[in-house]
Symmetry: C2
Subunit: 195 residues, 2 copies
């Protein structure tokens, strides 16, 4: 695949929510930065500030943080046509406390914050699109709070498999466990019990 096809993937994705004309597509294309990450490579590490929106063209990524006991907790997973970021750092412009990492060799389209914000002024559709994305991110996080309070671990795992059918096979189980908030051993036990 060449860069034009990659850009087309992004345009099609955005077109699902708002309509972009050719002029806007040209403007948007002009601020795109491609970034290729190897497996296990970090896009963001604690102390850095997230300064772009990141669209996965090809590959698989996650964001996670380490608690006081150096335990990993995965906050977000993403594959092709998902956005990945530390949205907190991006929005607040403060230093991240998280890692954003490639789980496979991954190709990203990045939209730098400063140039994107200039585009918002000229192109309300782009502004609307990211407003919707940020709303969705809020809803997704709130859903997790709700789930973590009302569901037990197996129900959460079951929900996860339904919502992320394509992701499950590509991600090690210990990372799924760290997303669900259980130990890998307990997830393994649950899988056996319900199989």
């Amino acid at each position: 695949m060449n860069n034009n096809q990659h850009i087309q993937l992004l345009i099609n994705h955005i077109n699902q929510d708002v309509i972009l004309d050719n002029d806007v597509i040209k403007k948007l294309s002009s601020i795109i930065v491609f970034n290729e990450l190897n497996k296990k490579e970090f896009l963001i590490e604690p102390g850095e500030t997230a300064d772009s929106m990141n669209f996965i063209v090809q590959g698989c990524m996650r964001s996670y943080y380490l608690d006081e006991n150096a335990q990993e907790h995965t906050l977000q997973l993403g594959i092709e046509e998902w956005w990945i970021n530390d949205l907190y750092s991006y929005l607040s412009r403060k230093k991240s406390r998280m890692y954003v990492q490639a789980l496979e060799k991954t190709l990203l389209i990045q939209l730098p914050r400063l140039e994107l914000e200039k585009l918002y002024i000229e192109v309300p559709e782009i502004s609307n699109f990211f407003r919707i994305k940020i709303q969705n991110a809020y809803v997704a996080v709130q859903e997790r709070v709700i789930d973590s309070m009302s569901d037990d671990a197996y129900e959460r795992y079951d929900n996860f498999r339904k919502s992320y059918r394509n992701i499950e096979q590509r991600v090690p189980q210990y990372i799924i466990a760290s997303y669900l908030g259980v130990t890998p051993e307990f997830l393994s036990y649950l899988r056996k019990k319900h199989s």
Copy 2:
């Protein structure tokens, strides 16, 4: 207290984040709606759509939802000078699945969405202010996900007391339990054990 003093409370609150001149204050004042709720009265119930931003002038409120087993789960608590809402419903304009309820006789200042959005166009400071509030809401929810994965129930209770010192005394313990994600019996047990 009279309405002008109540409006002043809101203005002072907003002034902590952005600077409003007299002209803006006049415009903002003109869209304010006061709303008084009795104890246990609902501001929002499932099926309704949140159509205003709601600032607590006096009183205490919470938002919660019921899971499949009719268990209450408290998502947000607020007292004087806090905002309370179902932000998901407000932002997405979809029907709420939550209750937003007064825990005491409560006086609100409401800013209707349609008029507020008109103001955003004229007054970027107001738009910025709510952008910051929504960012903060996102961060707060994400903090809860992180806490629920890394802390045990007593740590969460301890964090809650530090963050919401003024709220703890005004809210029944079973509601705090439903915020922390534990049973009231277990919270009672924890309090005794650590006292």
